[in-house]
């Protein structure tokens, strides 16, 4: 058996007295698209953020390429080949679009330069038009594109996305998921966390269901899409 790219092994995490993750285990293999679905407050964002040490996990281990990274300083993690597109996008509002993208190249010591910028502009031509505009003046969808583009600037092996569809119009969501498919096809492993289970399960090879900080179910994307419990809990109206 090959070692997974990311192996999360029995991790727990707390926010003050509140336990957000209860011995969660999951793994992501190279080349996969993995979705983690769950309701608001299930611990999805905590799971992704804890990979970067916010918060630090209080038990278990996070192995990336077979190295335990659970104690690694936050700023060293991106350089190992992980990139996070966080919840709420978190673009730098007072910086231009181009500067935001350049920030994404920090893990590779700003070496990436024009070739990577061009690659991102190809994924999202709109960003090229807006490159001199302040990120804070972009619409939600444009900011999401910028956040994904920023993540791609470091040429990550594993791209982690936290609710890329949150608060966006259906047409934009469709476009973003199409782009994620293109990114995956170019050889990047993707892990995305979503409340929008419908889109996420259609895109994903495999998926996990997170409930109250605990993995309750796992299976292929299509299996979970067909599961009546999942349909009732996460796909109501879909």
């Amino acid at each position: 058996m090959t070692t997974p790219l990311l192996d999360i092994n029995g991790i727990s995490a707390f926010y003050g007295p509140i336990q957000a993750l209860r011995t969660v285990s999951l793994h992501i293999d190279t080349g996969e698209i993995v979705a983690i679905i769950g309701a608001n407050g299930a611990g999805k964002s905590t799971l992704l953020m804890s990979i970067f040490g916010h918060p630090r996990i209080s038990g278990g281990e996070i192995r990336y390429n077979n190295v335990d990274i659970s104690g690694t300083p936050t700023h060293r993690i991106a350089a190992m080949g992980l990139a996070l597109v966080p919840e709420g996008r978190r673009v730098f509002p007072a910086m231009t679009v181009a500067e935001n993208l350049l920030m994404g190249a920090t893990p590779v010591n700003d070496r990436s330069g024009d070739a990577d910028l061009d690659r991102v502009y190809q994924l999202f031509p709109l960003l090229k038009e807006r490159r001199k505009q302040r990120a804070g003046t972009l619409s939600g969808g444009e900011q999401q594109m910028l956040a994904i583009g920023r993540g791609m600037m470091s040429r990550p092996t594993l791209l982690l996305l936290d609710e890329p569809s949150l608060g966006l119009a259906p047409i934009i969501v469709q476009r973003i998921f199409q782009t994620l498919r293109d990114i995956a096809d170019s050889g990047v492993t993707i892990c995305l966390v979503e409340q929008n289970a419908n889109h996420a399960l259609r895109l994903a090879d495999r998926a996990y269901v997170l409930v109250n900080g605990d993995i309750k179910m796992t299976g292929s994307g299509s299996e979970l899409l067909g599961n009546p419990d999942i349909r009732r809990a996460y796909l109501a109206g879909a």
């Binding site: 970067f52 916010h54 300083p73 936050t74 700023h75 060293r76 993690i77 991106a78 350089a79 996070l84 966080p86 978190r90 730098f92 509002p93 007072a94 910086m95 500067e99 350049l102 920030m103 994404g104 920090t106 893990p107 700003d110 920023r150 470091s154």
Partner: protein
């Protein structure tokens, strides 16, 4: 009111204002990045005044007689040592409290300020110290009773301040380091996730602020010639006022606030009352905090999401 007195006061005010601006940079950058007022910053400036005097004495002792060379050595040494002070203060007094309540580092800063004052008082004595006048040339425009005079030192102070501010603005807006500073300021956690060593950026911010205060320290010490262990307090609060006036967190705001404060203080003391010039400056602070707390170039707190 005579025109030449007005012009003279504008020149004096501009000189004073440039210095306030240089020191205000330290307050505004630290506030921008970690959201705390570094109340020890004025005392870092005070330390640089002592370092100026010591450097001049030491370099003169070793036989450096060329005044430009002497001043260059003094500036370099003062900036270097003052920066180490700034770095060490952050490391010792603020970093361990980074994740505690907002009030804790503020109290620690006041403590640090007292530590520095008392340490300098013990090490250097409580008496006024002074440096010799090294540059006494003067430009004089006009004749008879109606003249304006600009000292060479005033020209040096204004031009050094302007050049320093331009270099700093360039550093912050055009370099990779500056971009990382701004990213850390806007979203520290996200900057860290993107690979920025935010602890190092915070240290660099303290070093930059201290270096600017050191430049101000050298200039003011040469200008006034005398100082004591307590000068950091009043000058620090004035520079803080300048930072608030311009909009705390804003770099051009610090310079603008400094110049406005310097000019208005100078005009007030010349045309109204010299004894009340500090009262005037602090009344200004109170008025800004009441009517325009975000300052001239600052953004209102509510915009932060």
């Amino acid at each position: 009111m005579d025109w030449y007195i007005l012009i003279q006061q504008l020149i004096n005010g501009l000189t004073l204002g440039s210095v306030y601006g240089l020191i205000a940079v330290g307050y505004t950058m630290v506030y921008g990045i970690i959201g705390m007022i570094n109340f020890a910053h004025g005392d870092v400036y005070m330390v640089s005044a002592y370092l100026t005097a010591i450097s001049i004495a030491v370099f003169t002792f070793f036989g450096i007689s060329s005044i430009p060379f002497l001043l260059l050595c003094t500036v370099i040494i003062t900036i270097a040592i003052t920066s180490v002070y700034g770095w060490a203060i952050e490391r010792v007094a603020y970093r361990p409290l980074r994740d505690s309540t907002r009030l804790a580092p503020l109290i620690s800063a006041i403590g640090m300020s007292l530590v520095l004052q008392n340490y300098v008082q013990l090490a250097q004595g409580a008496r006024n110290q002074g440096v010799p006048t090294l540059i006494d040339q003067v430009f004089r425009i006009g004749d008879g009773d109606a003249f304006v005079q600009i000292t060479y030192l005033q020209i040096i102070i204004i031009s050094v301040s302007v050049v320093s501010m331009i270099l700093l603005t360039f550093l912050i807006h055009k370099s990779d380091l500056g971009r990382r500073c701004r990213a850390t300021q806007q979203d520290r956690i996200m900057a860290g996730i993107l690979g920025v060593n935010t602890d190092r950026i915070i240290s660099i911010t303290f070093v930059i602020g201290s270096a600017m205060a050191a430049i101000a320290g050298v200039l003011v010490t040469l200008y006034y010639g005398s100082f004591d262990f307590y000068v950091g307090f009043i000058t620090g609060i004035k520079a803080f006022t300048a930072a608030v006036l311009g909009g705390i967190g804003s770099l051009p705001g610090a310079m603008l606030g400094g110049i406005i404060l310097g000019l208005s203080e100078s005009l007030f003391s010349s045309f109204v009352n010299t004894d009340y010039k500090d009262v005037f400056a602090f009344s200004l602070l109170v008025l800004i905090l009441i009517f325009k707390p975000e300052g001239i170039l600052g953004t209102p707190e509510t915009e932060k999401v």
